[in-house]
Symmetry: C2
Subunit: 343 residues, 2 copies
DNA sequence: CTGAAAGCGCTAACAG
DNA sequence: CTGTTAGCGCTTTCAG
C-alpha cells in the first residue's frame, strides 16, 4: 500500500511528499523551494517547480499554521455586516489585509452581552486568527469582552476605552462641526435626532451637539432618540415637522436623515427652505438623496487601514494591548440639504 | 527543559497534553471529553473539564484541520464587499454558516480576468476553506474561473451557467414584472436604464424588459447604459428628462434609480406625476427615497441560505458540481414612485 | 547544497 | 472505560 497514491485518500491535495517523490528529491528541498528561504541548486529547483506545477501543488496552510502557531488570518467581529459602516470598514480591512498577505475571517456576535461575545471571541483565541478587529460594540451589558491578554485586539467605534487599543473618529468634534455649520448659516438653534443611548458613538455625538450649542449660548432643545434606522428617522421627522420652531436638524447618522427627510417632505416642509438637515457618516447614497445631504463624512478606507495596521503591530508583542489609539479625521461635506433659515 | 512550560513557548495556548497532565489522564481522554464522541466515566470527565477550565483550553483548529482535512470554513469570493448586494448576501451567508458551525473567510479578486481570479481561488484550494461561494463574477474575460473538480463551489449572480451550480434569481421575470406593472398603470412604453453590459444579471434584466414590451406590442426605446452607480443614474436621468415622451423608467438597480430620481427632480420633473420610476434590488433605503421607490425586491437572506446549503451539500461528494441550480423568487414592491401617467 | 529526524496538536485505530 | 501508537503536512534543527 503506497503511502499517498494519486487517488487513495479522501480528497486532500498533493503534499510536499508527493512533489518530492515526483521530482526525485527530499521533502525539505521542496520546502526550501516553496519558502524560498534557503539556497537550492538551479537544476534542482527547476525539477521541483515542474513537479509542483504538474501536481498543482499548493501548500497546506493548516499544517503551516499548526507548525508555527500563526494562522495568517485576522478576525473581524461585528454584530451585523449589512450596514453601511460595517460594510465599508470591512471592505477596507480586507484590502489592507490582502496587502499584508493576511486573510479575513468573519465572526458575528448578535448580542453584545458577555454571554455571546465571549464564546465567540474565545472560540477564536487559539483557533483561526492571529488577531481580532472588533466593530461597533454597541448595546449589551457594560463589560462585554474579556479576551486573553496575549490576543492582539483593536476596537472600532466602541466603549472599550482603556481596555483595548482603539481606532476612532473624533465623534464630538464631528458633531460640533455639524452644529456650527448650521449656526453659521444663521439658525437660532439646532434640533437633534440622536442615535441609541447604548451606543458610544451616539453618546459622543450627543455630547458634541450639546457642547456646540452651549458654547454659543444657544438653547438646547430636547433631542429625539432614534435607533440608527431610517424608520426611526421617519418617526422623528414627523414629530419635528409638527414643531414650527424647528429650522435645523442634525441627525446622528445618514440613514436616519433619509427617513427624516421623507417625513418632512410628506408633511409639506421644504428642505432646506423650511428646515435644514445635516447627517453623519457620508454614505454614498447621501449625494443622491432629494435634496443631497450635507453630512459629516467618515473616512472608512482610512479607518480600515488603521485597524489592520494596529492589529498587525501587536502580533508577537508581549503586551499587545499597549499600542496607542488612533484617531481618524472627519470632514464636513456641504450639500443642498442645509441653507440659511428662510426668516 | 520541560516540554511545554507555562510560558516557555511563543504564545501558543494550552494544548490537550497540558490539560491531560493537569487532570492526570491521557490525552485521548481529554480528546474524548472535548469531542463528546465516546463515553467517559463521569468522575474523569469532571476532572478533565476542571483542568480545561483552569487552563482556559480551547481546541486548536489548525491541528484539527490538518488531521481530518477539513477546515470548518467556507470562502466568500467577490470583487467588492461594500455594495448593497454583496453586503446583504454576505450577512445572510454568515448567519447560515454559523448555524452549521462554519466560519466565513473573505476573499477578494478585484479583477475577474483569470489572471486574478485563479490565483485567488487556487490559493484557497487546499488551504483554508472547504468550499467557495462566488459572488457576482461580472466583468473580465469570458471564462474566468477554473477550480479543481473536487472543490465545492456555488456561484451567485454570474455567468457560470453550466460550469458550477448556481443560486440565481429569475432576473428576466423580475424585469418583466417591473415593466408589466408600469404598462398596467397605463404607460405607453417603458424606458430603460440598464446595468453594465458585462454583467450577466444586467444582461438578463435587459432581455426581460425587452421581452415584456415586445409581448405587448409596444415600442422598445433605446436603453441608456449605466454602471450600477447612482452617478450613472444621475447622468441617465438628465438625458431622460430632456425627452418629453418619457413617462416611465425602469432602472436595473435601486442605486441608479436614486441618482436618476435626483436628476429628474433637478430638471423639474415630478415623480410619479410626470415620470414613474421602478428600481431593482429592494435596498432598505428605497423605502425612504423621495418618493419611496417601487422596486423588484431580491430576497437576500434566502439567497444567502441557499448558497450555504448548496456548498455544504457538495462537501464529500465525488462530483460536487452536479447539484442542481436554485432559483430564489423575486417580489414586486409597489411604492409611491410609480403611478398612472398624468393625462 | 541536500537529506534525515523530530514535533506542532489533534484524533482514529487498536490494544488493554 | 482508558491508554498507547501513529500520522495528517509542514519546517526547523542537525548531519552529511
Amino acid at each position: 500500500m503506497a503511502s499517498t497514491g494519486a487517488r487513495g485518500g479522501r480528497k486532500r491535495g498533493p503534499s510536499i511528499a508527493d512533489v518530492a517523490r515526483l521530482a526525485g528529491v527530499s521533502a525539505q528541498t521542496v520546502s526550501r523551494v516553496s519558502t524560498g528561504a534557503e539556497a537550492v541548486k538551479p537544476e534542482t529547483r527547476a525539477k521541483v517547480l515542474l513537479a509542483m506545477e504538474q501536481l498543482g501543488y499548493s501548500p497546506n496552510r493548516a499544517a503551516r499554521a499548526l507548525r508555527d502557531g500563526r494562522y495568517g488570518s485576522i478576525g473581524f467581529l461585528a454584530r451585523r455586516f449589512d450596514r453601511t459602516g460595517e460594510a465599508l470598514t470591512m471592505d477596507a480591512v480586507l484590502r489592507a489585509c490582502e496587502a499584508e498577505d493576511y486573510s479575513v475571517t468573519l465572526l458575528s456576535a448578535h448580542d453584545t452581552t458577555s454571554a455571546e461575545w465571549e464564546p465567540a471571541a474565545r472560540r477564536l483565541q487559539n483557533q483561526t486568527v492571529d488577531g481580532i478587529i472588533i466593530m461597533r460594540a454597541e448595546g449589551g451589558a457594560g463589560d462585554p469582552l474579556a479576551l486573553p491578554a496575549t490576543m492582539p485586539v483593536v476596537v472600532s467605534d466602541s466603549r472599550a476605552h482603556g481596555r483595548y487599543p482603539r481606532v476612532t473618529t473624533d465623534e464630538m468634534l464631528g458633531a460640533r462641526r455639524a452644529v456650527e455649520h448650521l449656526l453659521d448659516l444663521g439658525h437660532e438653534t439646532v434640533h437633534y435626532l440622536a442615535g441609541p443611548e447604548d451606543s458610544e458613538p451616539a453618546r459622543l455625538r450627543t455630547i458634541g451637539w450639546r457642547a456646540a450649542l452651549t458654547d454659543r449660548g444657544r438653547a438646547t432643545p430636547e433631542p429625539i432618540w432614534g435607533d440608527w434606522t431610517p424608520q426611526s428617522g421617519y418617526a422623528a421627522g414627523s414629530a419635528f415637522a409638527a414643531d414650527p420652531t424647528v429650522t435645523a436638524i442634525f441627525c446622528a447618522n445618514d440613514e436616519m436623515a433619509f427617513g427624516l427627510m421623507l417625513a418632512l417632505h410628506a408633511a409639506g416642509k421644504d428642505i432646506p427652505g423650511d428646515i435644514s438637515v445635516v447627517g453623519f457618516d457620508g454614505i454614498s447614497l447621501g449625494r443622491y438623496s432629494v435634496p443631497p445631504l450635507t453630512t459629516i463624512r467618515q473616512d472608512f478606507p482610512q479607518i480600515g487601514r488603521e485597524l489592520v495596521r494596529m492589529v498587525l503591530r501587536q502580533i508577537g508583542q508581549t503586551h499587545p494591548h499597549s499600542v496607542p489609539d488612533s484617531i481618524v479625521p472627519l470632514e464636513l461635506v456641504v450639500r443642498d440639504s442645509s441653507a440659511p433659515p428662510r426668516r
